[in-house]
C-alpha cells in the first residue's frame, strides 16, 4: 500500500504538487489522472525518493522508500521510457539493476520474456523503438517481482496490441494482490484498466473515486429527439418534468427523462419520432469538465463540440 500524506513539491516558483494525499490499495489498479503538468510524474518521483518533497510524507507499506533494504524486490517503477544508456543492451541494463539488489539472474530472463523482449535482449537499446523502450521499462519494474508497482504512462508509444497487453498485465498483477498505481492523461484508457481513480490538477487532488462511480456520474444524460411535432411533444415532456431545449436545426435536447419515457410520451401524444438518441458525454468530456479549471496549457479556444456532438448548455 502506498500512502501519500500532505505531499508538496516546489521547484523554484512553481508549486508542482500541493498538499496531496491519497492511498493506493493492494489488489487494485489505481489510475492516476491529470492533464499534462498536473504533477503526476513529480508525485511518482517523490514516492521512490528521486525528488525530495518540500513537505509531507510518502510511505510504502509503512516505510520510506529510501529505507528499503532491497527496494526493487518491493517496489517496481517505470518512470519514463528509455531511461537507459543507448549503448548498453537491455540484458545488461537489467543485470546491473539485479546485481545491486541481489536478484537472481534467472529473473532477468523471466522479466524479458514477460515483456516479449527476449529475442532482442543482447541488442543495444539505441536500436529500440519507443514501444520496445516501454516494454524494457516494464521489465525493469517487474524485475524484482515487487508487491507495489508504479507506472508512469506505460502505454505511451505502444501499438494497440501492446496497449491491450498492458491492460491485461496490470489487471493480472493486481489480481495477485499487488498495489498498482498507473498514471495516464487518457481517461478512456483508465476506464478500461483501473478500479480506482485519483484525479489531480495543478498539483491538487480533484477527485478520489472509483471508476464505476465516475462513469455513472459522467455526462448529463440528455436525449436527442427529432420530431415534426415539436411543439406538442415539448409540451407533453415538460408536463412530465423534463427540461427541453430546442437547437437551431429543430432537434430537441431533453434532460430529466429516460429515452423510454420520452418514447412513451410521444406515443401518448401521437407525435411522430424521427430520432430518439440517448446522449452521454464521453468519459474524456467528463474528465475535461472535471479538470477544466486546472489545465496548465489551454488551447486558444476550447472547442464546445467534440466529434460533432454539441454540448448542452442552457435550456
Amino acid at each position: 500500500m502506498i500512502e501519500v500524506k500532505g505531499l508538496s513539491k516546489r521547484y523554484g516558483d512553481v508549486l508542482a504538487v500541493d498538499d496531496l494525499s491519497f492511498t493506493v490499495q493492494p489488489g487494485q489498479v489505481t489510475g492516476f489522472l491529470g492533464p499534462n503538468g498536473a504533477g503526476k510524474s513529480t508525485t511518482m518521483r517523490a514516492i521512490v525518493g528521486l525528488d525530495r518533497p518540500t513537505g509531507g510524507t510518502v510511505t510504502i507499506d509503512g516505510h520510506r522508500y529510501a529505507h528499503d533494504r532491497a527496494p526493487l524486490t518491493h517496489v517496481g517503477a517505470l518512470l519514463e521510457a528509455k531511461a537507459v544508456h543507448p549503448g548498453r543492451s537491455a540484458y545488461n541494463h537489467l543485470l546491473f539493476l539485479a546485481q545491486s539488489n541481489g536478484i537472481d539472474r534467472r529473473r532477468i530472463d523471466e522479466a524479458l520474456a514477460m515483456v516479449g523482449l527476449e529475442s532482442v535482449a543482447r541488442k543495444r537499446t539505441k536500436t529500440f523503438s519507443l514501444g520496445m523502450g516501454q516494454r524494457l521499462g516494464i521489465a525493469c519494474a517487474l524485475l524484482g517481482d515487487p508487491r507495489v508497482l508504479l507506472l508512469d504512462e506505460p502505454v505511451n508509444g505502444l501499438d494497440p496490441e501492446g496497449i491491450i497487453w498492458v491492460r491485461h498485465l496490470l489487471k493480472a498483477l493486481a489480481a495477485e494482490g499487488r498495489a498498482i498505481l498507473v498514471s495516464s492523461h487518457l481517461m478512456a484508457e483508465m476506464a478500461l484498466t483501473a478500479d480506482n481513480l485519483i484525479v489531480i490538477g495543478r498539483g491538487r487532488l480533484i477527485a478520489d473515486t472509483t471508476v464505476a462511480d465516475f462513469v455513472s456520474q459522467a455526462g448529463n444524460k440528455a436525449v436527442l429527439v427529432r420530431t415534426p411535432d415539436g411543439a406538442a411533444l415539448t409540451e407533453a415532456l415538460r408536463l412530465r418534468g423534463a427540461t427541453v431545449a430546442r437547437s437551431d436545426d429543430g432537434a430537441l435536447h431533453v434532460t430529466g427523462l429516460e429515452a423510454a419515457a420520452i418514447g412513451q410520451a410521444a406515443a401518448d401524444t401521437s407525435a411522430v419520432l424521427h430520432e430518439l438518441t440517448p446522449q452521454r458525454a464521453s468519459l474524456e468530456e467528463a474528465f475535461m469538465e472535471l479538470t477544466r479549471d486546472s489545465v496548465e496549457y489551454h488551447a486558444e479556444a476550447t472547442p464546445t463540440t467534440i466529434d460533432g456532438v454539441p454540448s448542452y448548455e442552457g435550456a
Binding site: 532491497a70 526493487l72 524486490t73 531511461a83 537507459v84 544508456h85 546485481q99 545491486s100 525493469c140
Partner: protein
Amino acid sequence: MSAAVTSASPAPTAPAGHVGLAVQLPRVLRSEWTKLRTVRSTMWTLLATLLVCIGLPVLISFAIVNQPRGDVGPDFDAAGFSLFGVFLGQLIVGALGVLVMSAEYSTGTIRATLTAAPQRVLVFVSKLLTFAVVIAIVSFVTTFVAFFLVQAVLNTHSLGVSLGQGTSLRMVIGGALYLTIVGLLGLGIGAILRHSAAGISTVLALLFVVPILANFLPHSWQEHIVKYLPGQAGQAIFQRHSDAVTLAPWTGLALFAAYTVLTLVVGAALLVRRDA
C-alpha cells in the same frame, strides 16, 4: 533499423516472493562495474589513452634516434620524454571521468540507478572506487609500458635510462598517479555539473586554459600562482627537477589530490541533496 518484438505473454508469473539481498557496498560495486564495462565507449576511451600515451612518445623516440646526435643535448630527460603522452592522455582520462557520471544524467540511467540503490553516498562511493581501480590499472600499465618501450628505442643509441636510475621510478609511478587523479577529478566535476559537454570543457579549461591565462599575469605574480594551479601542482610529480616555479614532487601531487578530494566531496554532497 529496429529489431522485431516477439509477442508477449499476457500472464505474469505468480509472486514467488523474490527476496533479494540488501543493497550493500559489494553489490553496488558489482553493479557499477557492470555499468562501466557494458558500454563500448569505456573500452574505446581506455584504448585511446593507451594509444596516445604510449604511441606518441614511442613514435617520436624513433624520430630522435634517427636524428644526428647533436640534436639531443646533455640535459636530455629520457624518463620525462617517455611520459609526455600523459599531457594529452590526461584529457581523455579526464573526459572519461566526467562521462562516467554525466552519462547517467544524459541517458536518464541515474533514475534507474537511484531507484535500485537509494543510498546515494553508497552509489557515489561505489562508482568512485570502481572507476578508480580501472583507471589506476590503465594508468600504471600506460606509463610503465611507455617508459620501457621508449627507453628500448632510445637505448639503440645509448640515450635511454633505467628505472632505477635517478628519478625515473618516481616519475613513472607519479605519471600514473597523476593520470588516475585526473580521472577522479573528472568524475567529481561530472557529478557537480551533470552535463557531459560542460564537464569536459571544465576539465579542459582547468588543465589547459587556466595555465595559459596565467601566463598573462605579471611575472612576479606567476611565480607565486602558477605552481599552485591543479595541473601544474600535479605535474610536478613527473618532472625531473623542482625549481622556484614548481612545487616539490610529492607536495605538488598532494595538493592536486586535495583539490580532487574537495571536488569529489562537493559532487557527492550535491548528489545527495539534489533531485535526481
